[in-house]
Structures are given as structure tokens and as C-alpha cells.
């Protein structure tokens, strides 16, 4: 699912380093299968994160090009330098901070559990022994692993969240755990189906950050300045309202 969405720009695949300092086009990677944060709309990448990164880049005076890299290649690409930044609803965690630098947070999220309407489950612990759909390597999977062990047989780690939700609605998994905004977005679209969303008190609030290669303080400072600007001038709130209502 790696697809190049650019219409030129000077960076060829695998390159992108030798460009001039002033008009360098920064490649921003995302995994465009996580609505409403990022998704493909026809051949365009859209979503909350995409609006945010454009606003941040404008505020910081950077030129960017957003590419749909997929989740794993995003991390690999940043490590290798093919991709300059990543914005893909990435939660800032200590583990990830060991390998990447993160901007200041631009969004707070928490995990929710998607359950059938009549379910008696009221917290994560009640799901022990049941099948839980998650997107692999997301915080949703990490909370399940923390609760039931790294190799818990009931974890079904999908390549993307829509596939996990699909399998929930046909009954292959008993629950799905994912970010609130993503599940609430589904809830809006799937109003004809019966389900409920619950919160577990053990889930910590997560902060989404823009990630980049470790040690690139110049870029990090610019991005942080951009994040600060859109927080202060109300642009971030405007984008937030557009996607998640008041």
C-alpha cells in the first residue's frame, strides 16, 4: 500500500537530501487509512492530521509534500532519511522517543472499546479470553498486551483499523480497541448498526506528536514553533472543530 502521491518535487524515491536549504520540500509521511485523521479521498490524502501539518508548515514557513507511505515504511523511512517527518496519529511514547524525536503534542486522545450493543463488558479486564481486534503496533494493541500479555492469543492485529472494525461487525472479533476519534468517526458513519463505545479508566490520555529523525533539532524547533503558532492563533481549534465538532 505504498503509493507515491506527489506530482514531482525534487525528491526522487530514496533521495531528498541534497536539496537547497531555502526551498527544500519536506516529505511528510502518513498512513492514510485512519480516518478521520488521515485517509485517501480519491487520489488525495485528507484528514485532521493533514490539515494540521499544512497549517504548521505554513506557520513555520516550510514547504511540504504529503505522501501515503503506510505505517511501517513511515517509521523506516524517517530512520533512513527518505521521509523527513511523519504525521499519522502517532502517540508520543517513551519507547518511540528512544528512536525518534517528537514535536509538542497537537492532539490528545484516549482509547475506547467498541462493543456489541448488548454486551455486559464494562472494562478491559472483562475482555479476558475474548478476541480483540486492533491495528498492529498501535496504542490499542499495546493496552491489550499490557493487560493480557504480549502473546495473548485473542489479539488480532490487523494492518489497518478499518479491517478490524469490519471483522467486528461481521462477528469475528468481540471488541475493537482504538483511538476515541477514530471510533467516534465510525460511530457517525455506522449509525444503522448496533454497538456501543466504552472507556476503561486504566487507559491513559495520549498525546499525538509529529515525529522526525532523532537529532534534527533545527527542523524540530521550526515545527514546534509552528505548532505553538497554530495553538495560539486559533487555527488548531478551527481544524479540531471541523473534524470533531464543538
Amino acid at each position: 500500500m505504498v503509493s507515491a502521491c506527489g506530482t514531482g518535487g525534487q525528491q526522487a524515491a530514496g533521495g531528498g537530501s541534497g536539496a537547497g536549504a531555502t526551498d527544500k520540500v519536506y516529505v511528510v509521511g502518513t498512513d492514510a487509512a485512519y480516518p478521520p485523521f488521515e485517509k485517501m479521498e480519491a487520489d488525495k490524502i485528507t484528514g485532521f492530521d493533514i490539515d494540521v501539518i499544512h497549517a504548521v508548515a505554513d506557520a513555520a514557513g516550510l514547504k511540504i509534500e504529503v505522501k501515503n507511505t503506510g505505517w511501517d515504511p513511515l517509521f523506516d523511512g524517517i530512520a533512513k532519511g527518505n521521509v523527513d517527518m511523519g504525521i499519522s496519529a502517532v502517540t508520543i511514547t517513551d519507547e518511540r522517543k528512544e528512536k525518534y524525536d517528537f514535536s509538542d503534542s497537537y492532539f490528545d486522545a484516549n482509547q475506547l472499546i467498541l462493543l456489541p450493543e448488548g454486551s455486559t463488558v464494562s472494562k478491559l479486564a472483562d475482555l479476558k479470553g475474548k478476541k480483540i481486534g486492533v491495528q498492529s503496533a498501535t496504542t490499542g494493541e499495546q493496552v491489550v498486551k499490557k493487560a493480557f500479555g504480549d502473546t495473548y492469543e485473542g489479539i488480532k492485529g490487523y494492518d489497518d483499523t478499518p479491517s478490524a472494525v469490519d471483522d467486528f461487525f461481521v462477528g469475528r472479533v468481540d471488541a475493537v480497541i482504538a483511538d476515541n476519534a477514530v471510533l467516534q468517526d465510525y460511530a457517525k458513519k455506522m449509525s444503522d448498526k448496533k454497538f456501543k463505545l466504552i472507556k476503561d479508566d486504566s487507559f491513559e490520555v495520549e498525546h499525538y506528536g509529529i515525529l522526525m529523525k532523532k537529532g534534527n533539532t533545527e527542523l524540530l524547533d521550526k515545527i514546534n514553533q509552528g505548532v505553538k503558532t497554530i495553538k495560539e492563533n486559533g487555527k488548531l481549534k478551527e481544524i479540531n472543530d471541523k473534524y470533531f465538532g464543538q
Binding site: D76, G133, S136, T151, G157, D167, V170, G171, R172
Partner: protein
């Protein structure tokens, strides 16, 4: 590079090997049986047998297995269950895996059977018929056993391809060996250790399949 992740996640790999072997074995057995009938149907003089068999083979050989897996898992199986067993639970990914691998393998195996049977001297069939055997009986007792020996190398290739292709099922979260590698790599940010480990296990499994299973069958069925 941190190889300890393989040990930490060993259960995932062990479960993966078990399911990969299970998936491949079921698909080999069911695919061979189904493939034999489709191959025979394709050689039939009767159009109502020949045409559907030919269409089946072209459809399953001519489209990617990856697509077949997605279609069967996300659309066909939930659709059939919704229509015929609305009260029952839709079976898990493992079941979708059995179905898609079996249907796909059957198309290739049908062609292997057809080629094997057609490569045999028609005199074999004629001789059997002249001894008073029916067409079906001659096929079963004379033609197929001889043709089977000729098919074995091609069947061996198909079984190996099937074993490796089962890794495509990782996309629908089937807990097989490819999924184990995929999931560990995603969660640990380690790339070489999980992928090379599962690669080595696939290699051991394919070597076992070609050196032990297929060669064993060849020895057993060759004329003394």
C-alpha cells in the same frame, strides 16, 4: 539488532508454525481432491462439465491470490453466512484461509492432473477399455495411478508454493507464521530478527516438504 524479541514473542512463532502447517495440509488435501475433479471435468466431452471447470481454472489462476483472500474473507464468507446462517457466528480468519488456499490450489492442481493424464499413452485407456472396464474404472485403476507418478514433481512445486503463499493470510490477521513476523516487526521496530526467523522456518518447512514428503511419495509410487 535485537534477537531477543524472537524469544520474547516465541509463542507467536510457535502458534504461527502450527497454523501454517495446518493451513497448508488442509489446503493440500482438499485442493488435491477438488483439483482432481475439476481436472477430470475439464477433460470431459460434456460441455456442462468442461465449461465451468475451464472458467474456474482461468478465474483462480488469472487473479492474484491476495485479492482472492481479501474477497473471500471480507465479502464472500460474511455474505454466505448472512444469507444462510444468520444466527451463527461468521468463522474466523483461519477458515477464510482454508477456503481461499484450497480454491486457489485446486485450480493449479486441476491443470497438473489434466497434463499428467493427457501425457499418458492413450493406449493405456484403450487397453483397459478393451478388457471390459468402464471408462471410470479404467481411469481410476489404470490411468490415474500411472499419471500420478508423473505429476508428483509438479504437485511438489504446487505444495511448496502453497506453503509459502499461506503467508499472504497475514493481511487478514490469521495467526500463521507470516503474521508472527509481521506483528513482531511492527511492535518491536526490529526488522531482521523477526523476518529472518520466519524465513528460516519457511525454508525448513519447504525443504521438509520437497525432500521428505514429495520424495517419499515418488519412491512409494515408482514401479519396482
Amino acid at each position: 539488532m535485537d534477537w531477543s524479541v524472537v524469544y520474547d514473542y516465541r509463542e507467536l512463532f510457535i502458534r504461527g508454525v502450527g497454523n501454517t502447517i495446518l493451513l497448508t495440509s488442509v489446503a493440500i488435501i482438499c485442493g488435491t481432491i477438488l483439483g482432481l475433479f475439476i481436472g477430470l471435468a475439464k477433460m470431459s466431452d460434456k460441455v456442462y462439465l468442461k465449461a465451468p471447470a475451464a472458467v474456474y481454472v482461468e478465474l483462480f489462476r488469472g487473479t492474484p491470490l491476495f485479492l482472492q483472500i481479501l474477497l473471500i474473507h471480507t465479502a464472500v464468507i460474511p455474505g454466505i453466512w448472512g444469507l444462510f446462517f444468520p444466527e451463527a457466528k461468521v468463522p474466523e480468519a483461519l477458515f477464510s484461509g482454508f477456503v481461499s488456499l484450497t480454491l486457489n490450489a485446486a485450480a493449479y492442481i486441476a491443470e497438473i492432473f489434466r497434463a499428467g493424464i493427457q501425457s499418458l499413452d492413450p493406449g493405456q485407456m484403450e487397453a483397459a477399455r478393451s478388457l471390459g472396464m468402464t471408462k471410470a474404472k479404467s481411469m481410476r485403476l489404470i490411468v490415474i495411478p500411472q499419471a500420478f507418478l508423473r505429476m508428483l514433481p509438479a504437485l511438489g512445486n504446487e505444495f511448496i508454493a502453497l506453503l509459502k503463499d499461506s503467508s499472504l493470510l497475514a493481511i487478514i490477521a490469521t495467526p500463521e507464521l507470516g503474521y508472527a513476523a509481521f506483528n513482531v516487526a511492527k511492535n518491536t521496530f526490529e526488522r531482521y530478527p523477526p523476518y529472518l526467523t520466519s524465513g528460516a522456518i519457511y525454508l525448513i518447512l519447504t525443504l521438509f516438504l520437497s525432500r521428505v514428503v514429495v520424495r517419499g511419495l515418488e519412491k512409494r509410487y515408482s514401479p519396482k
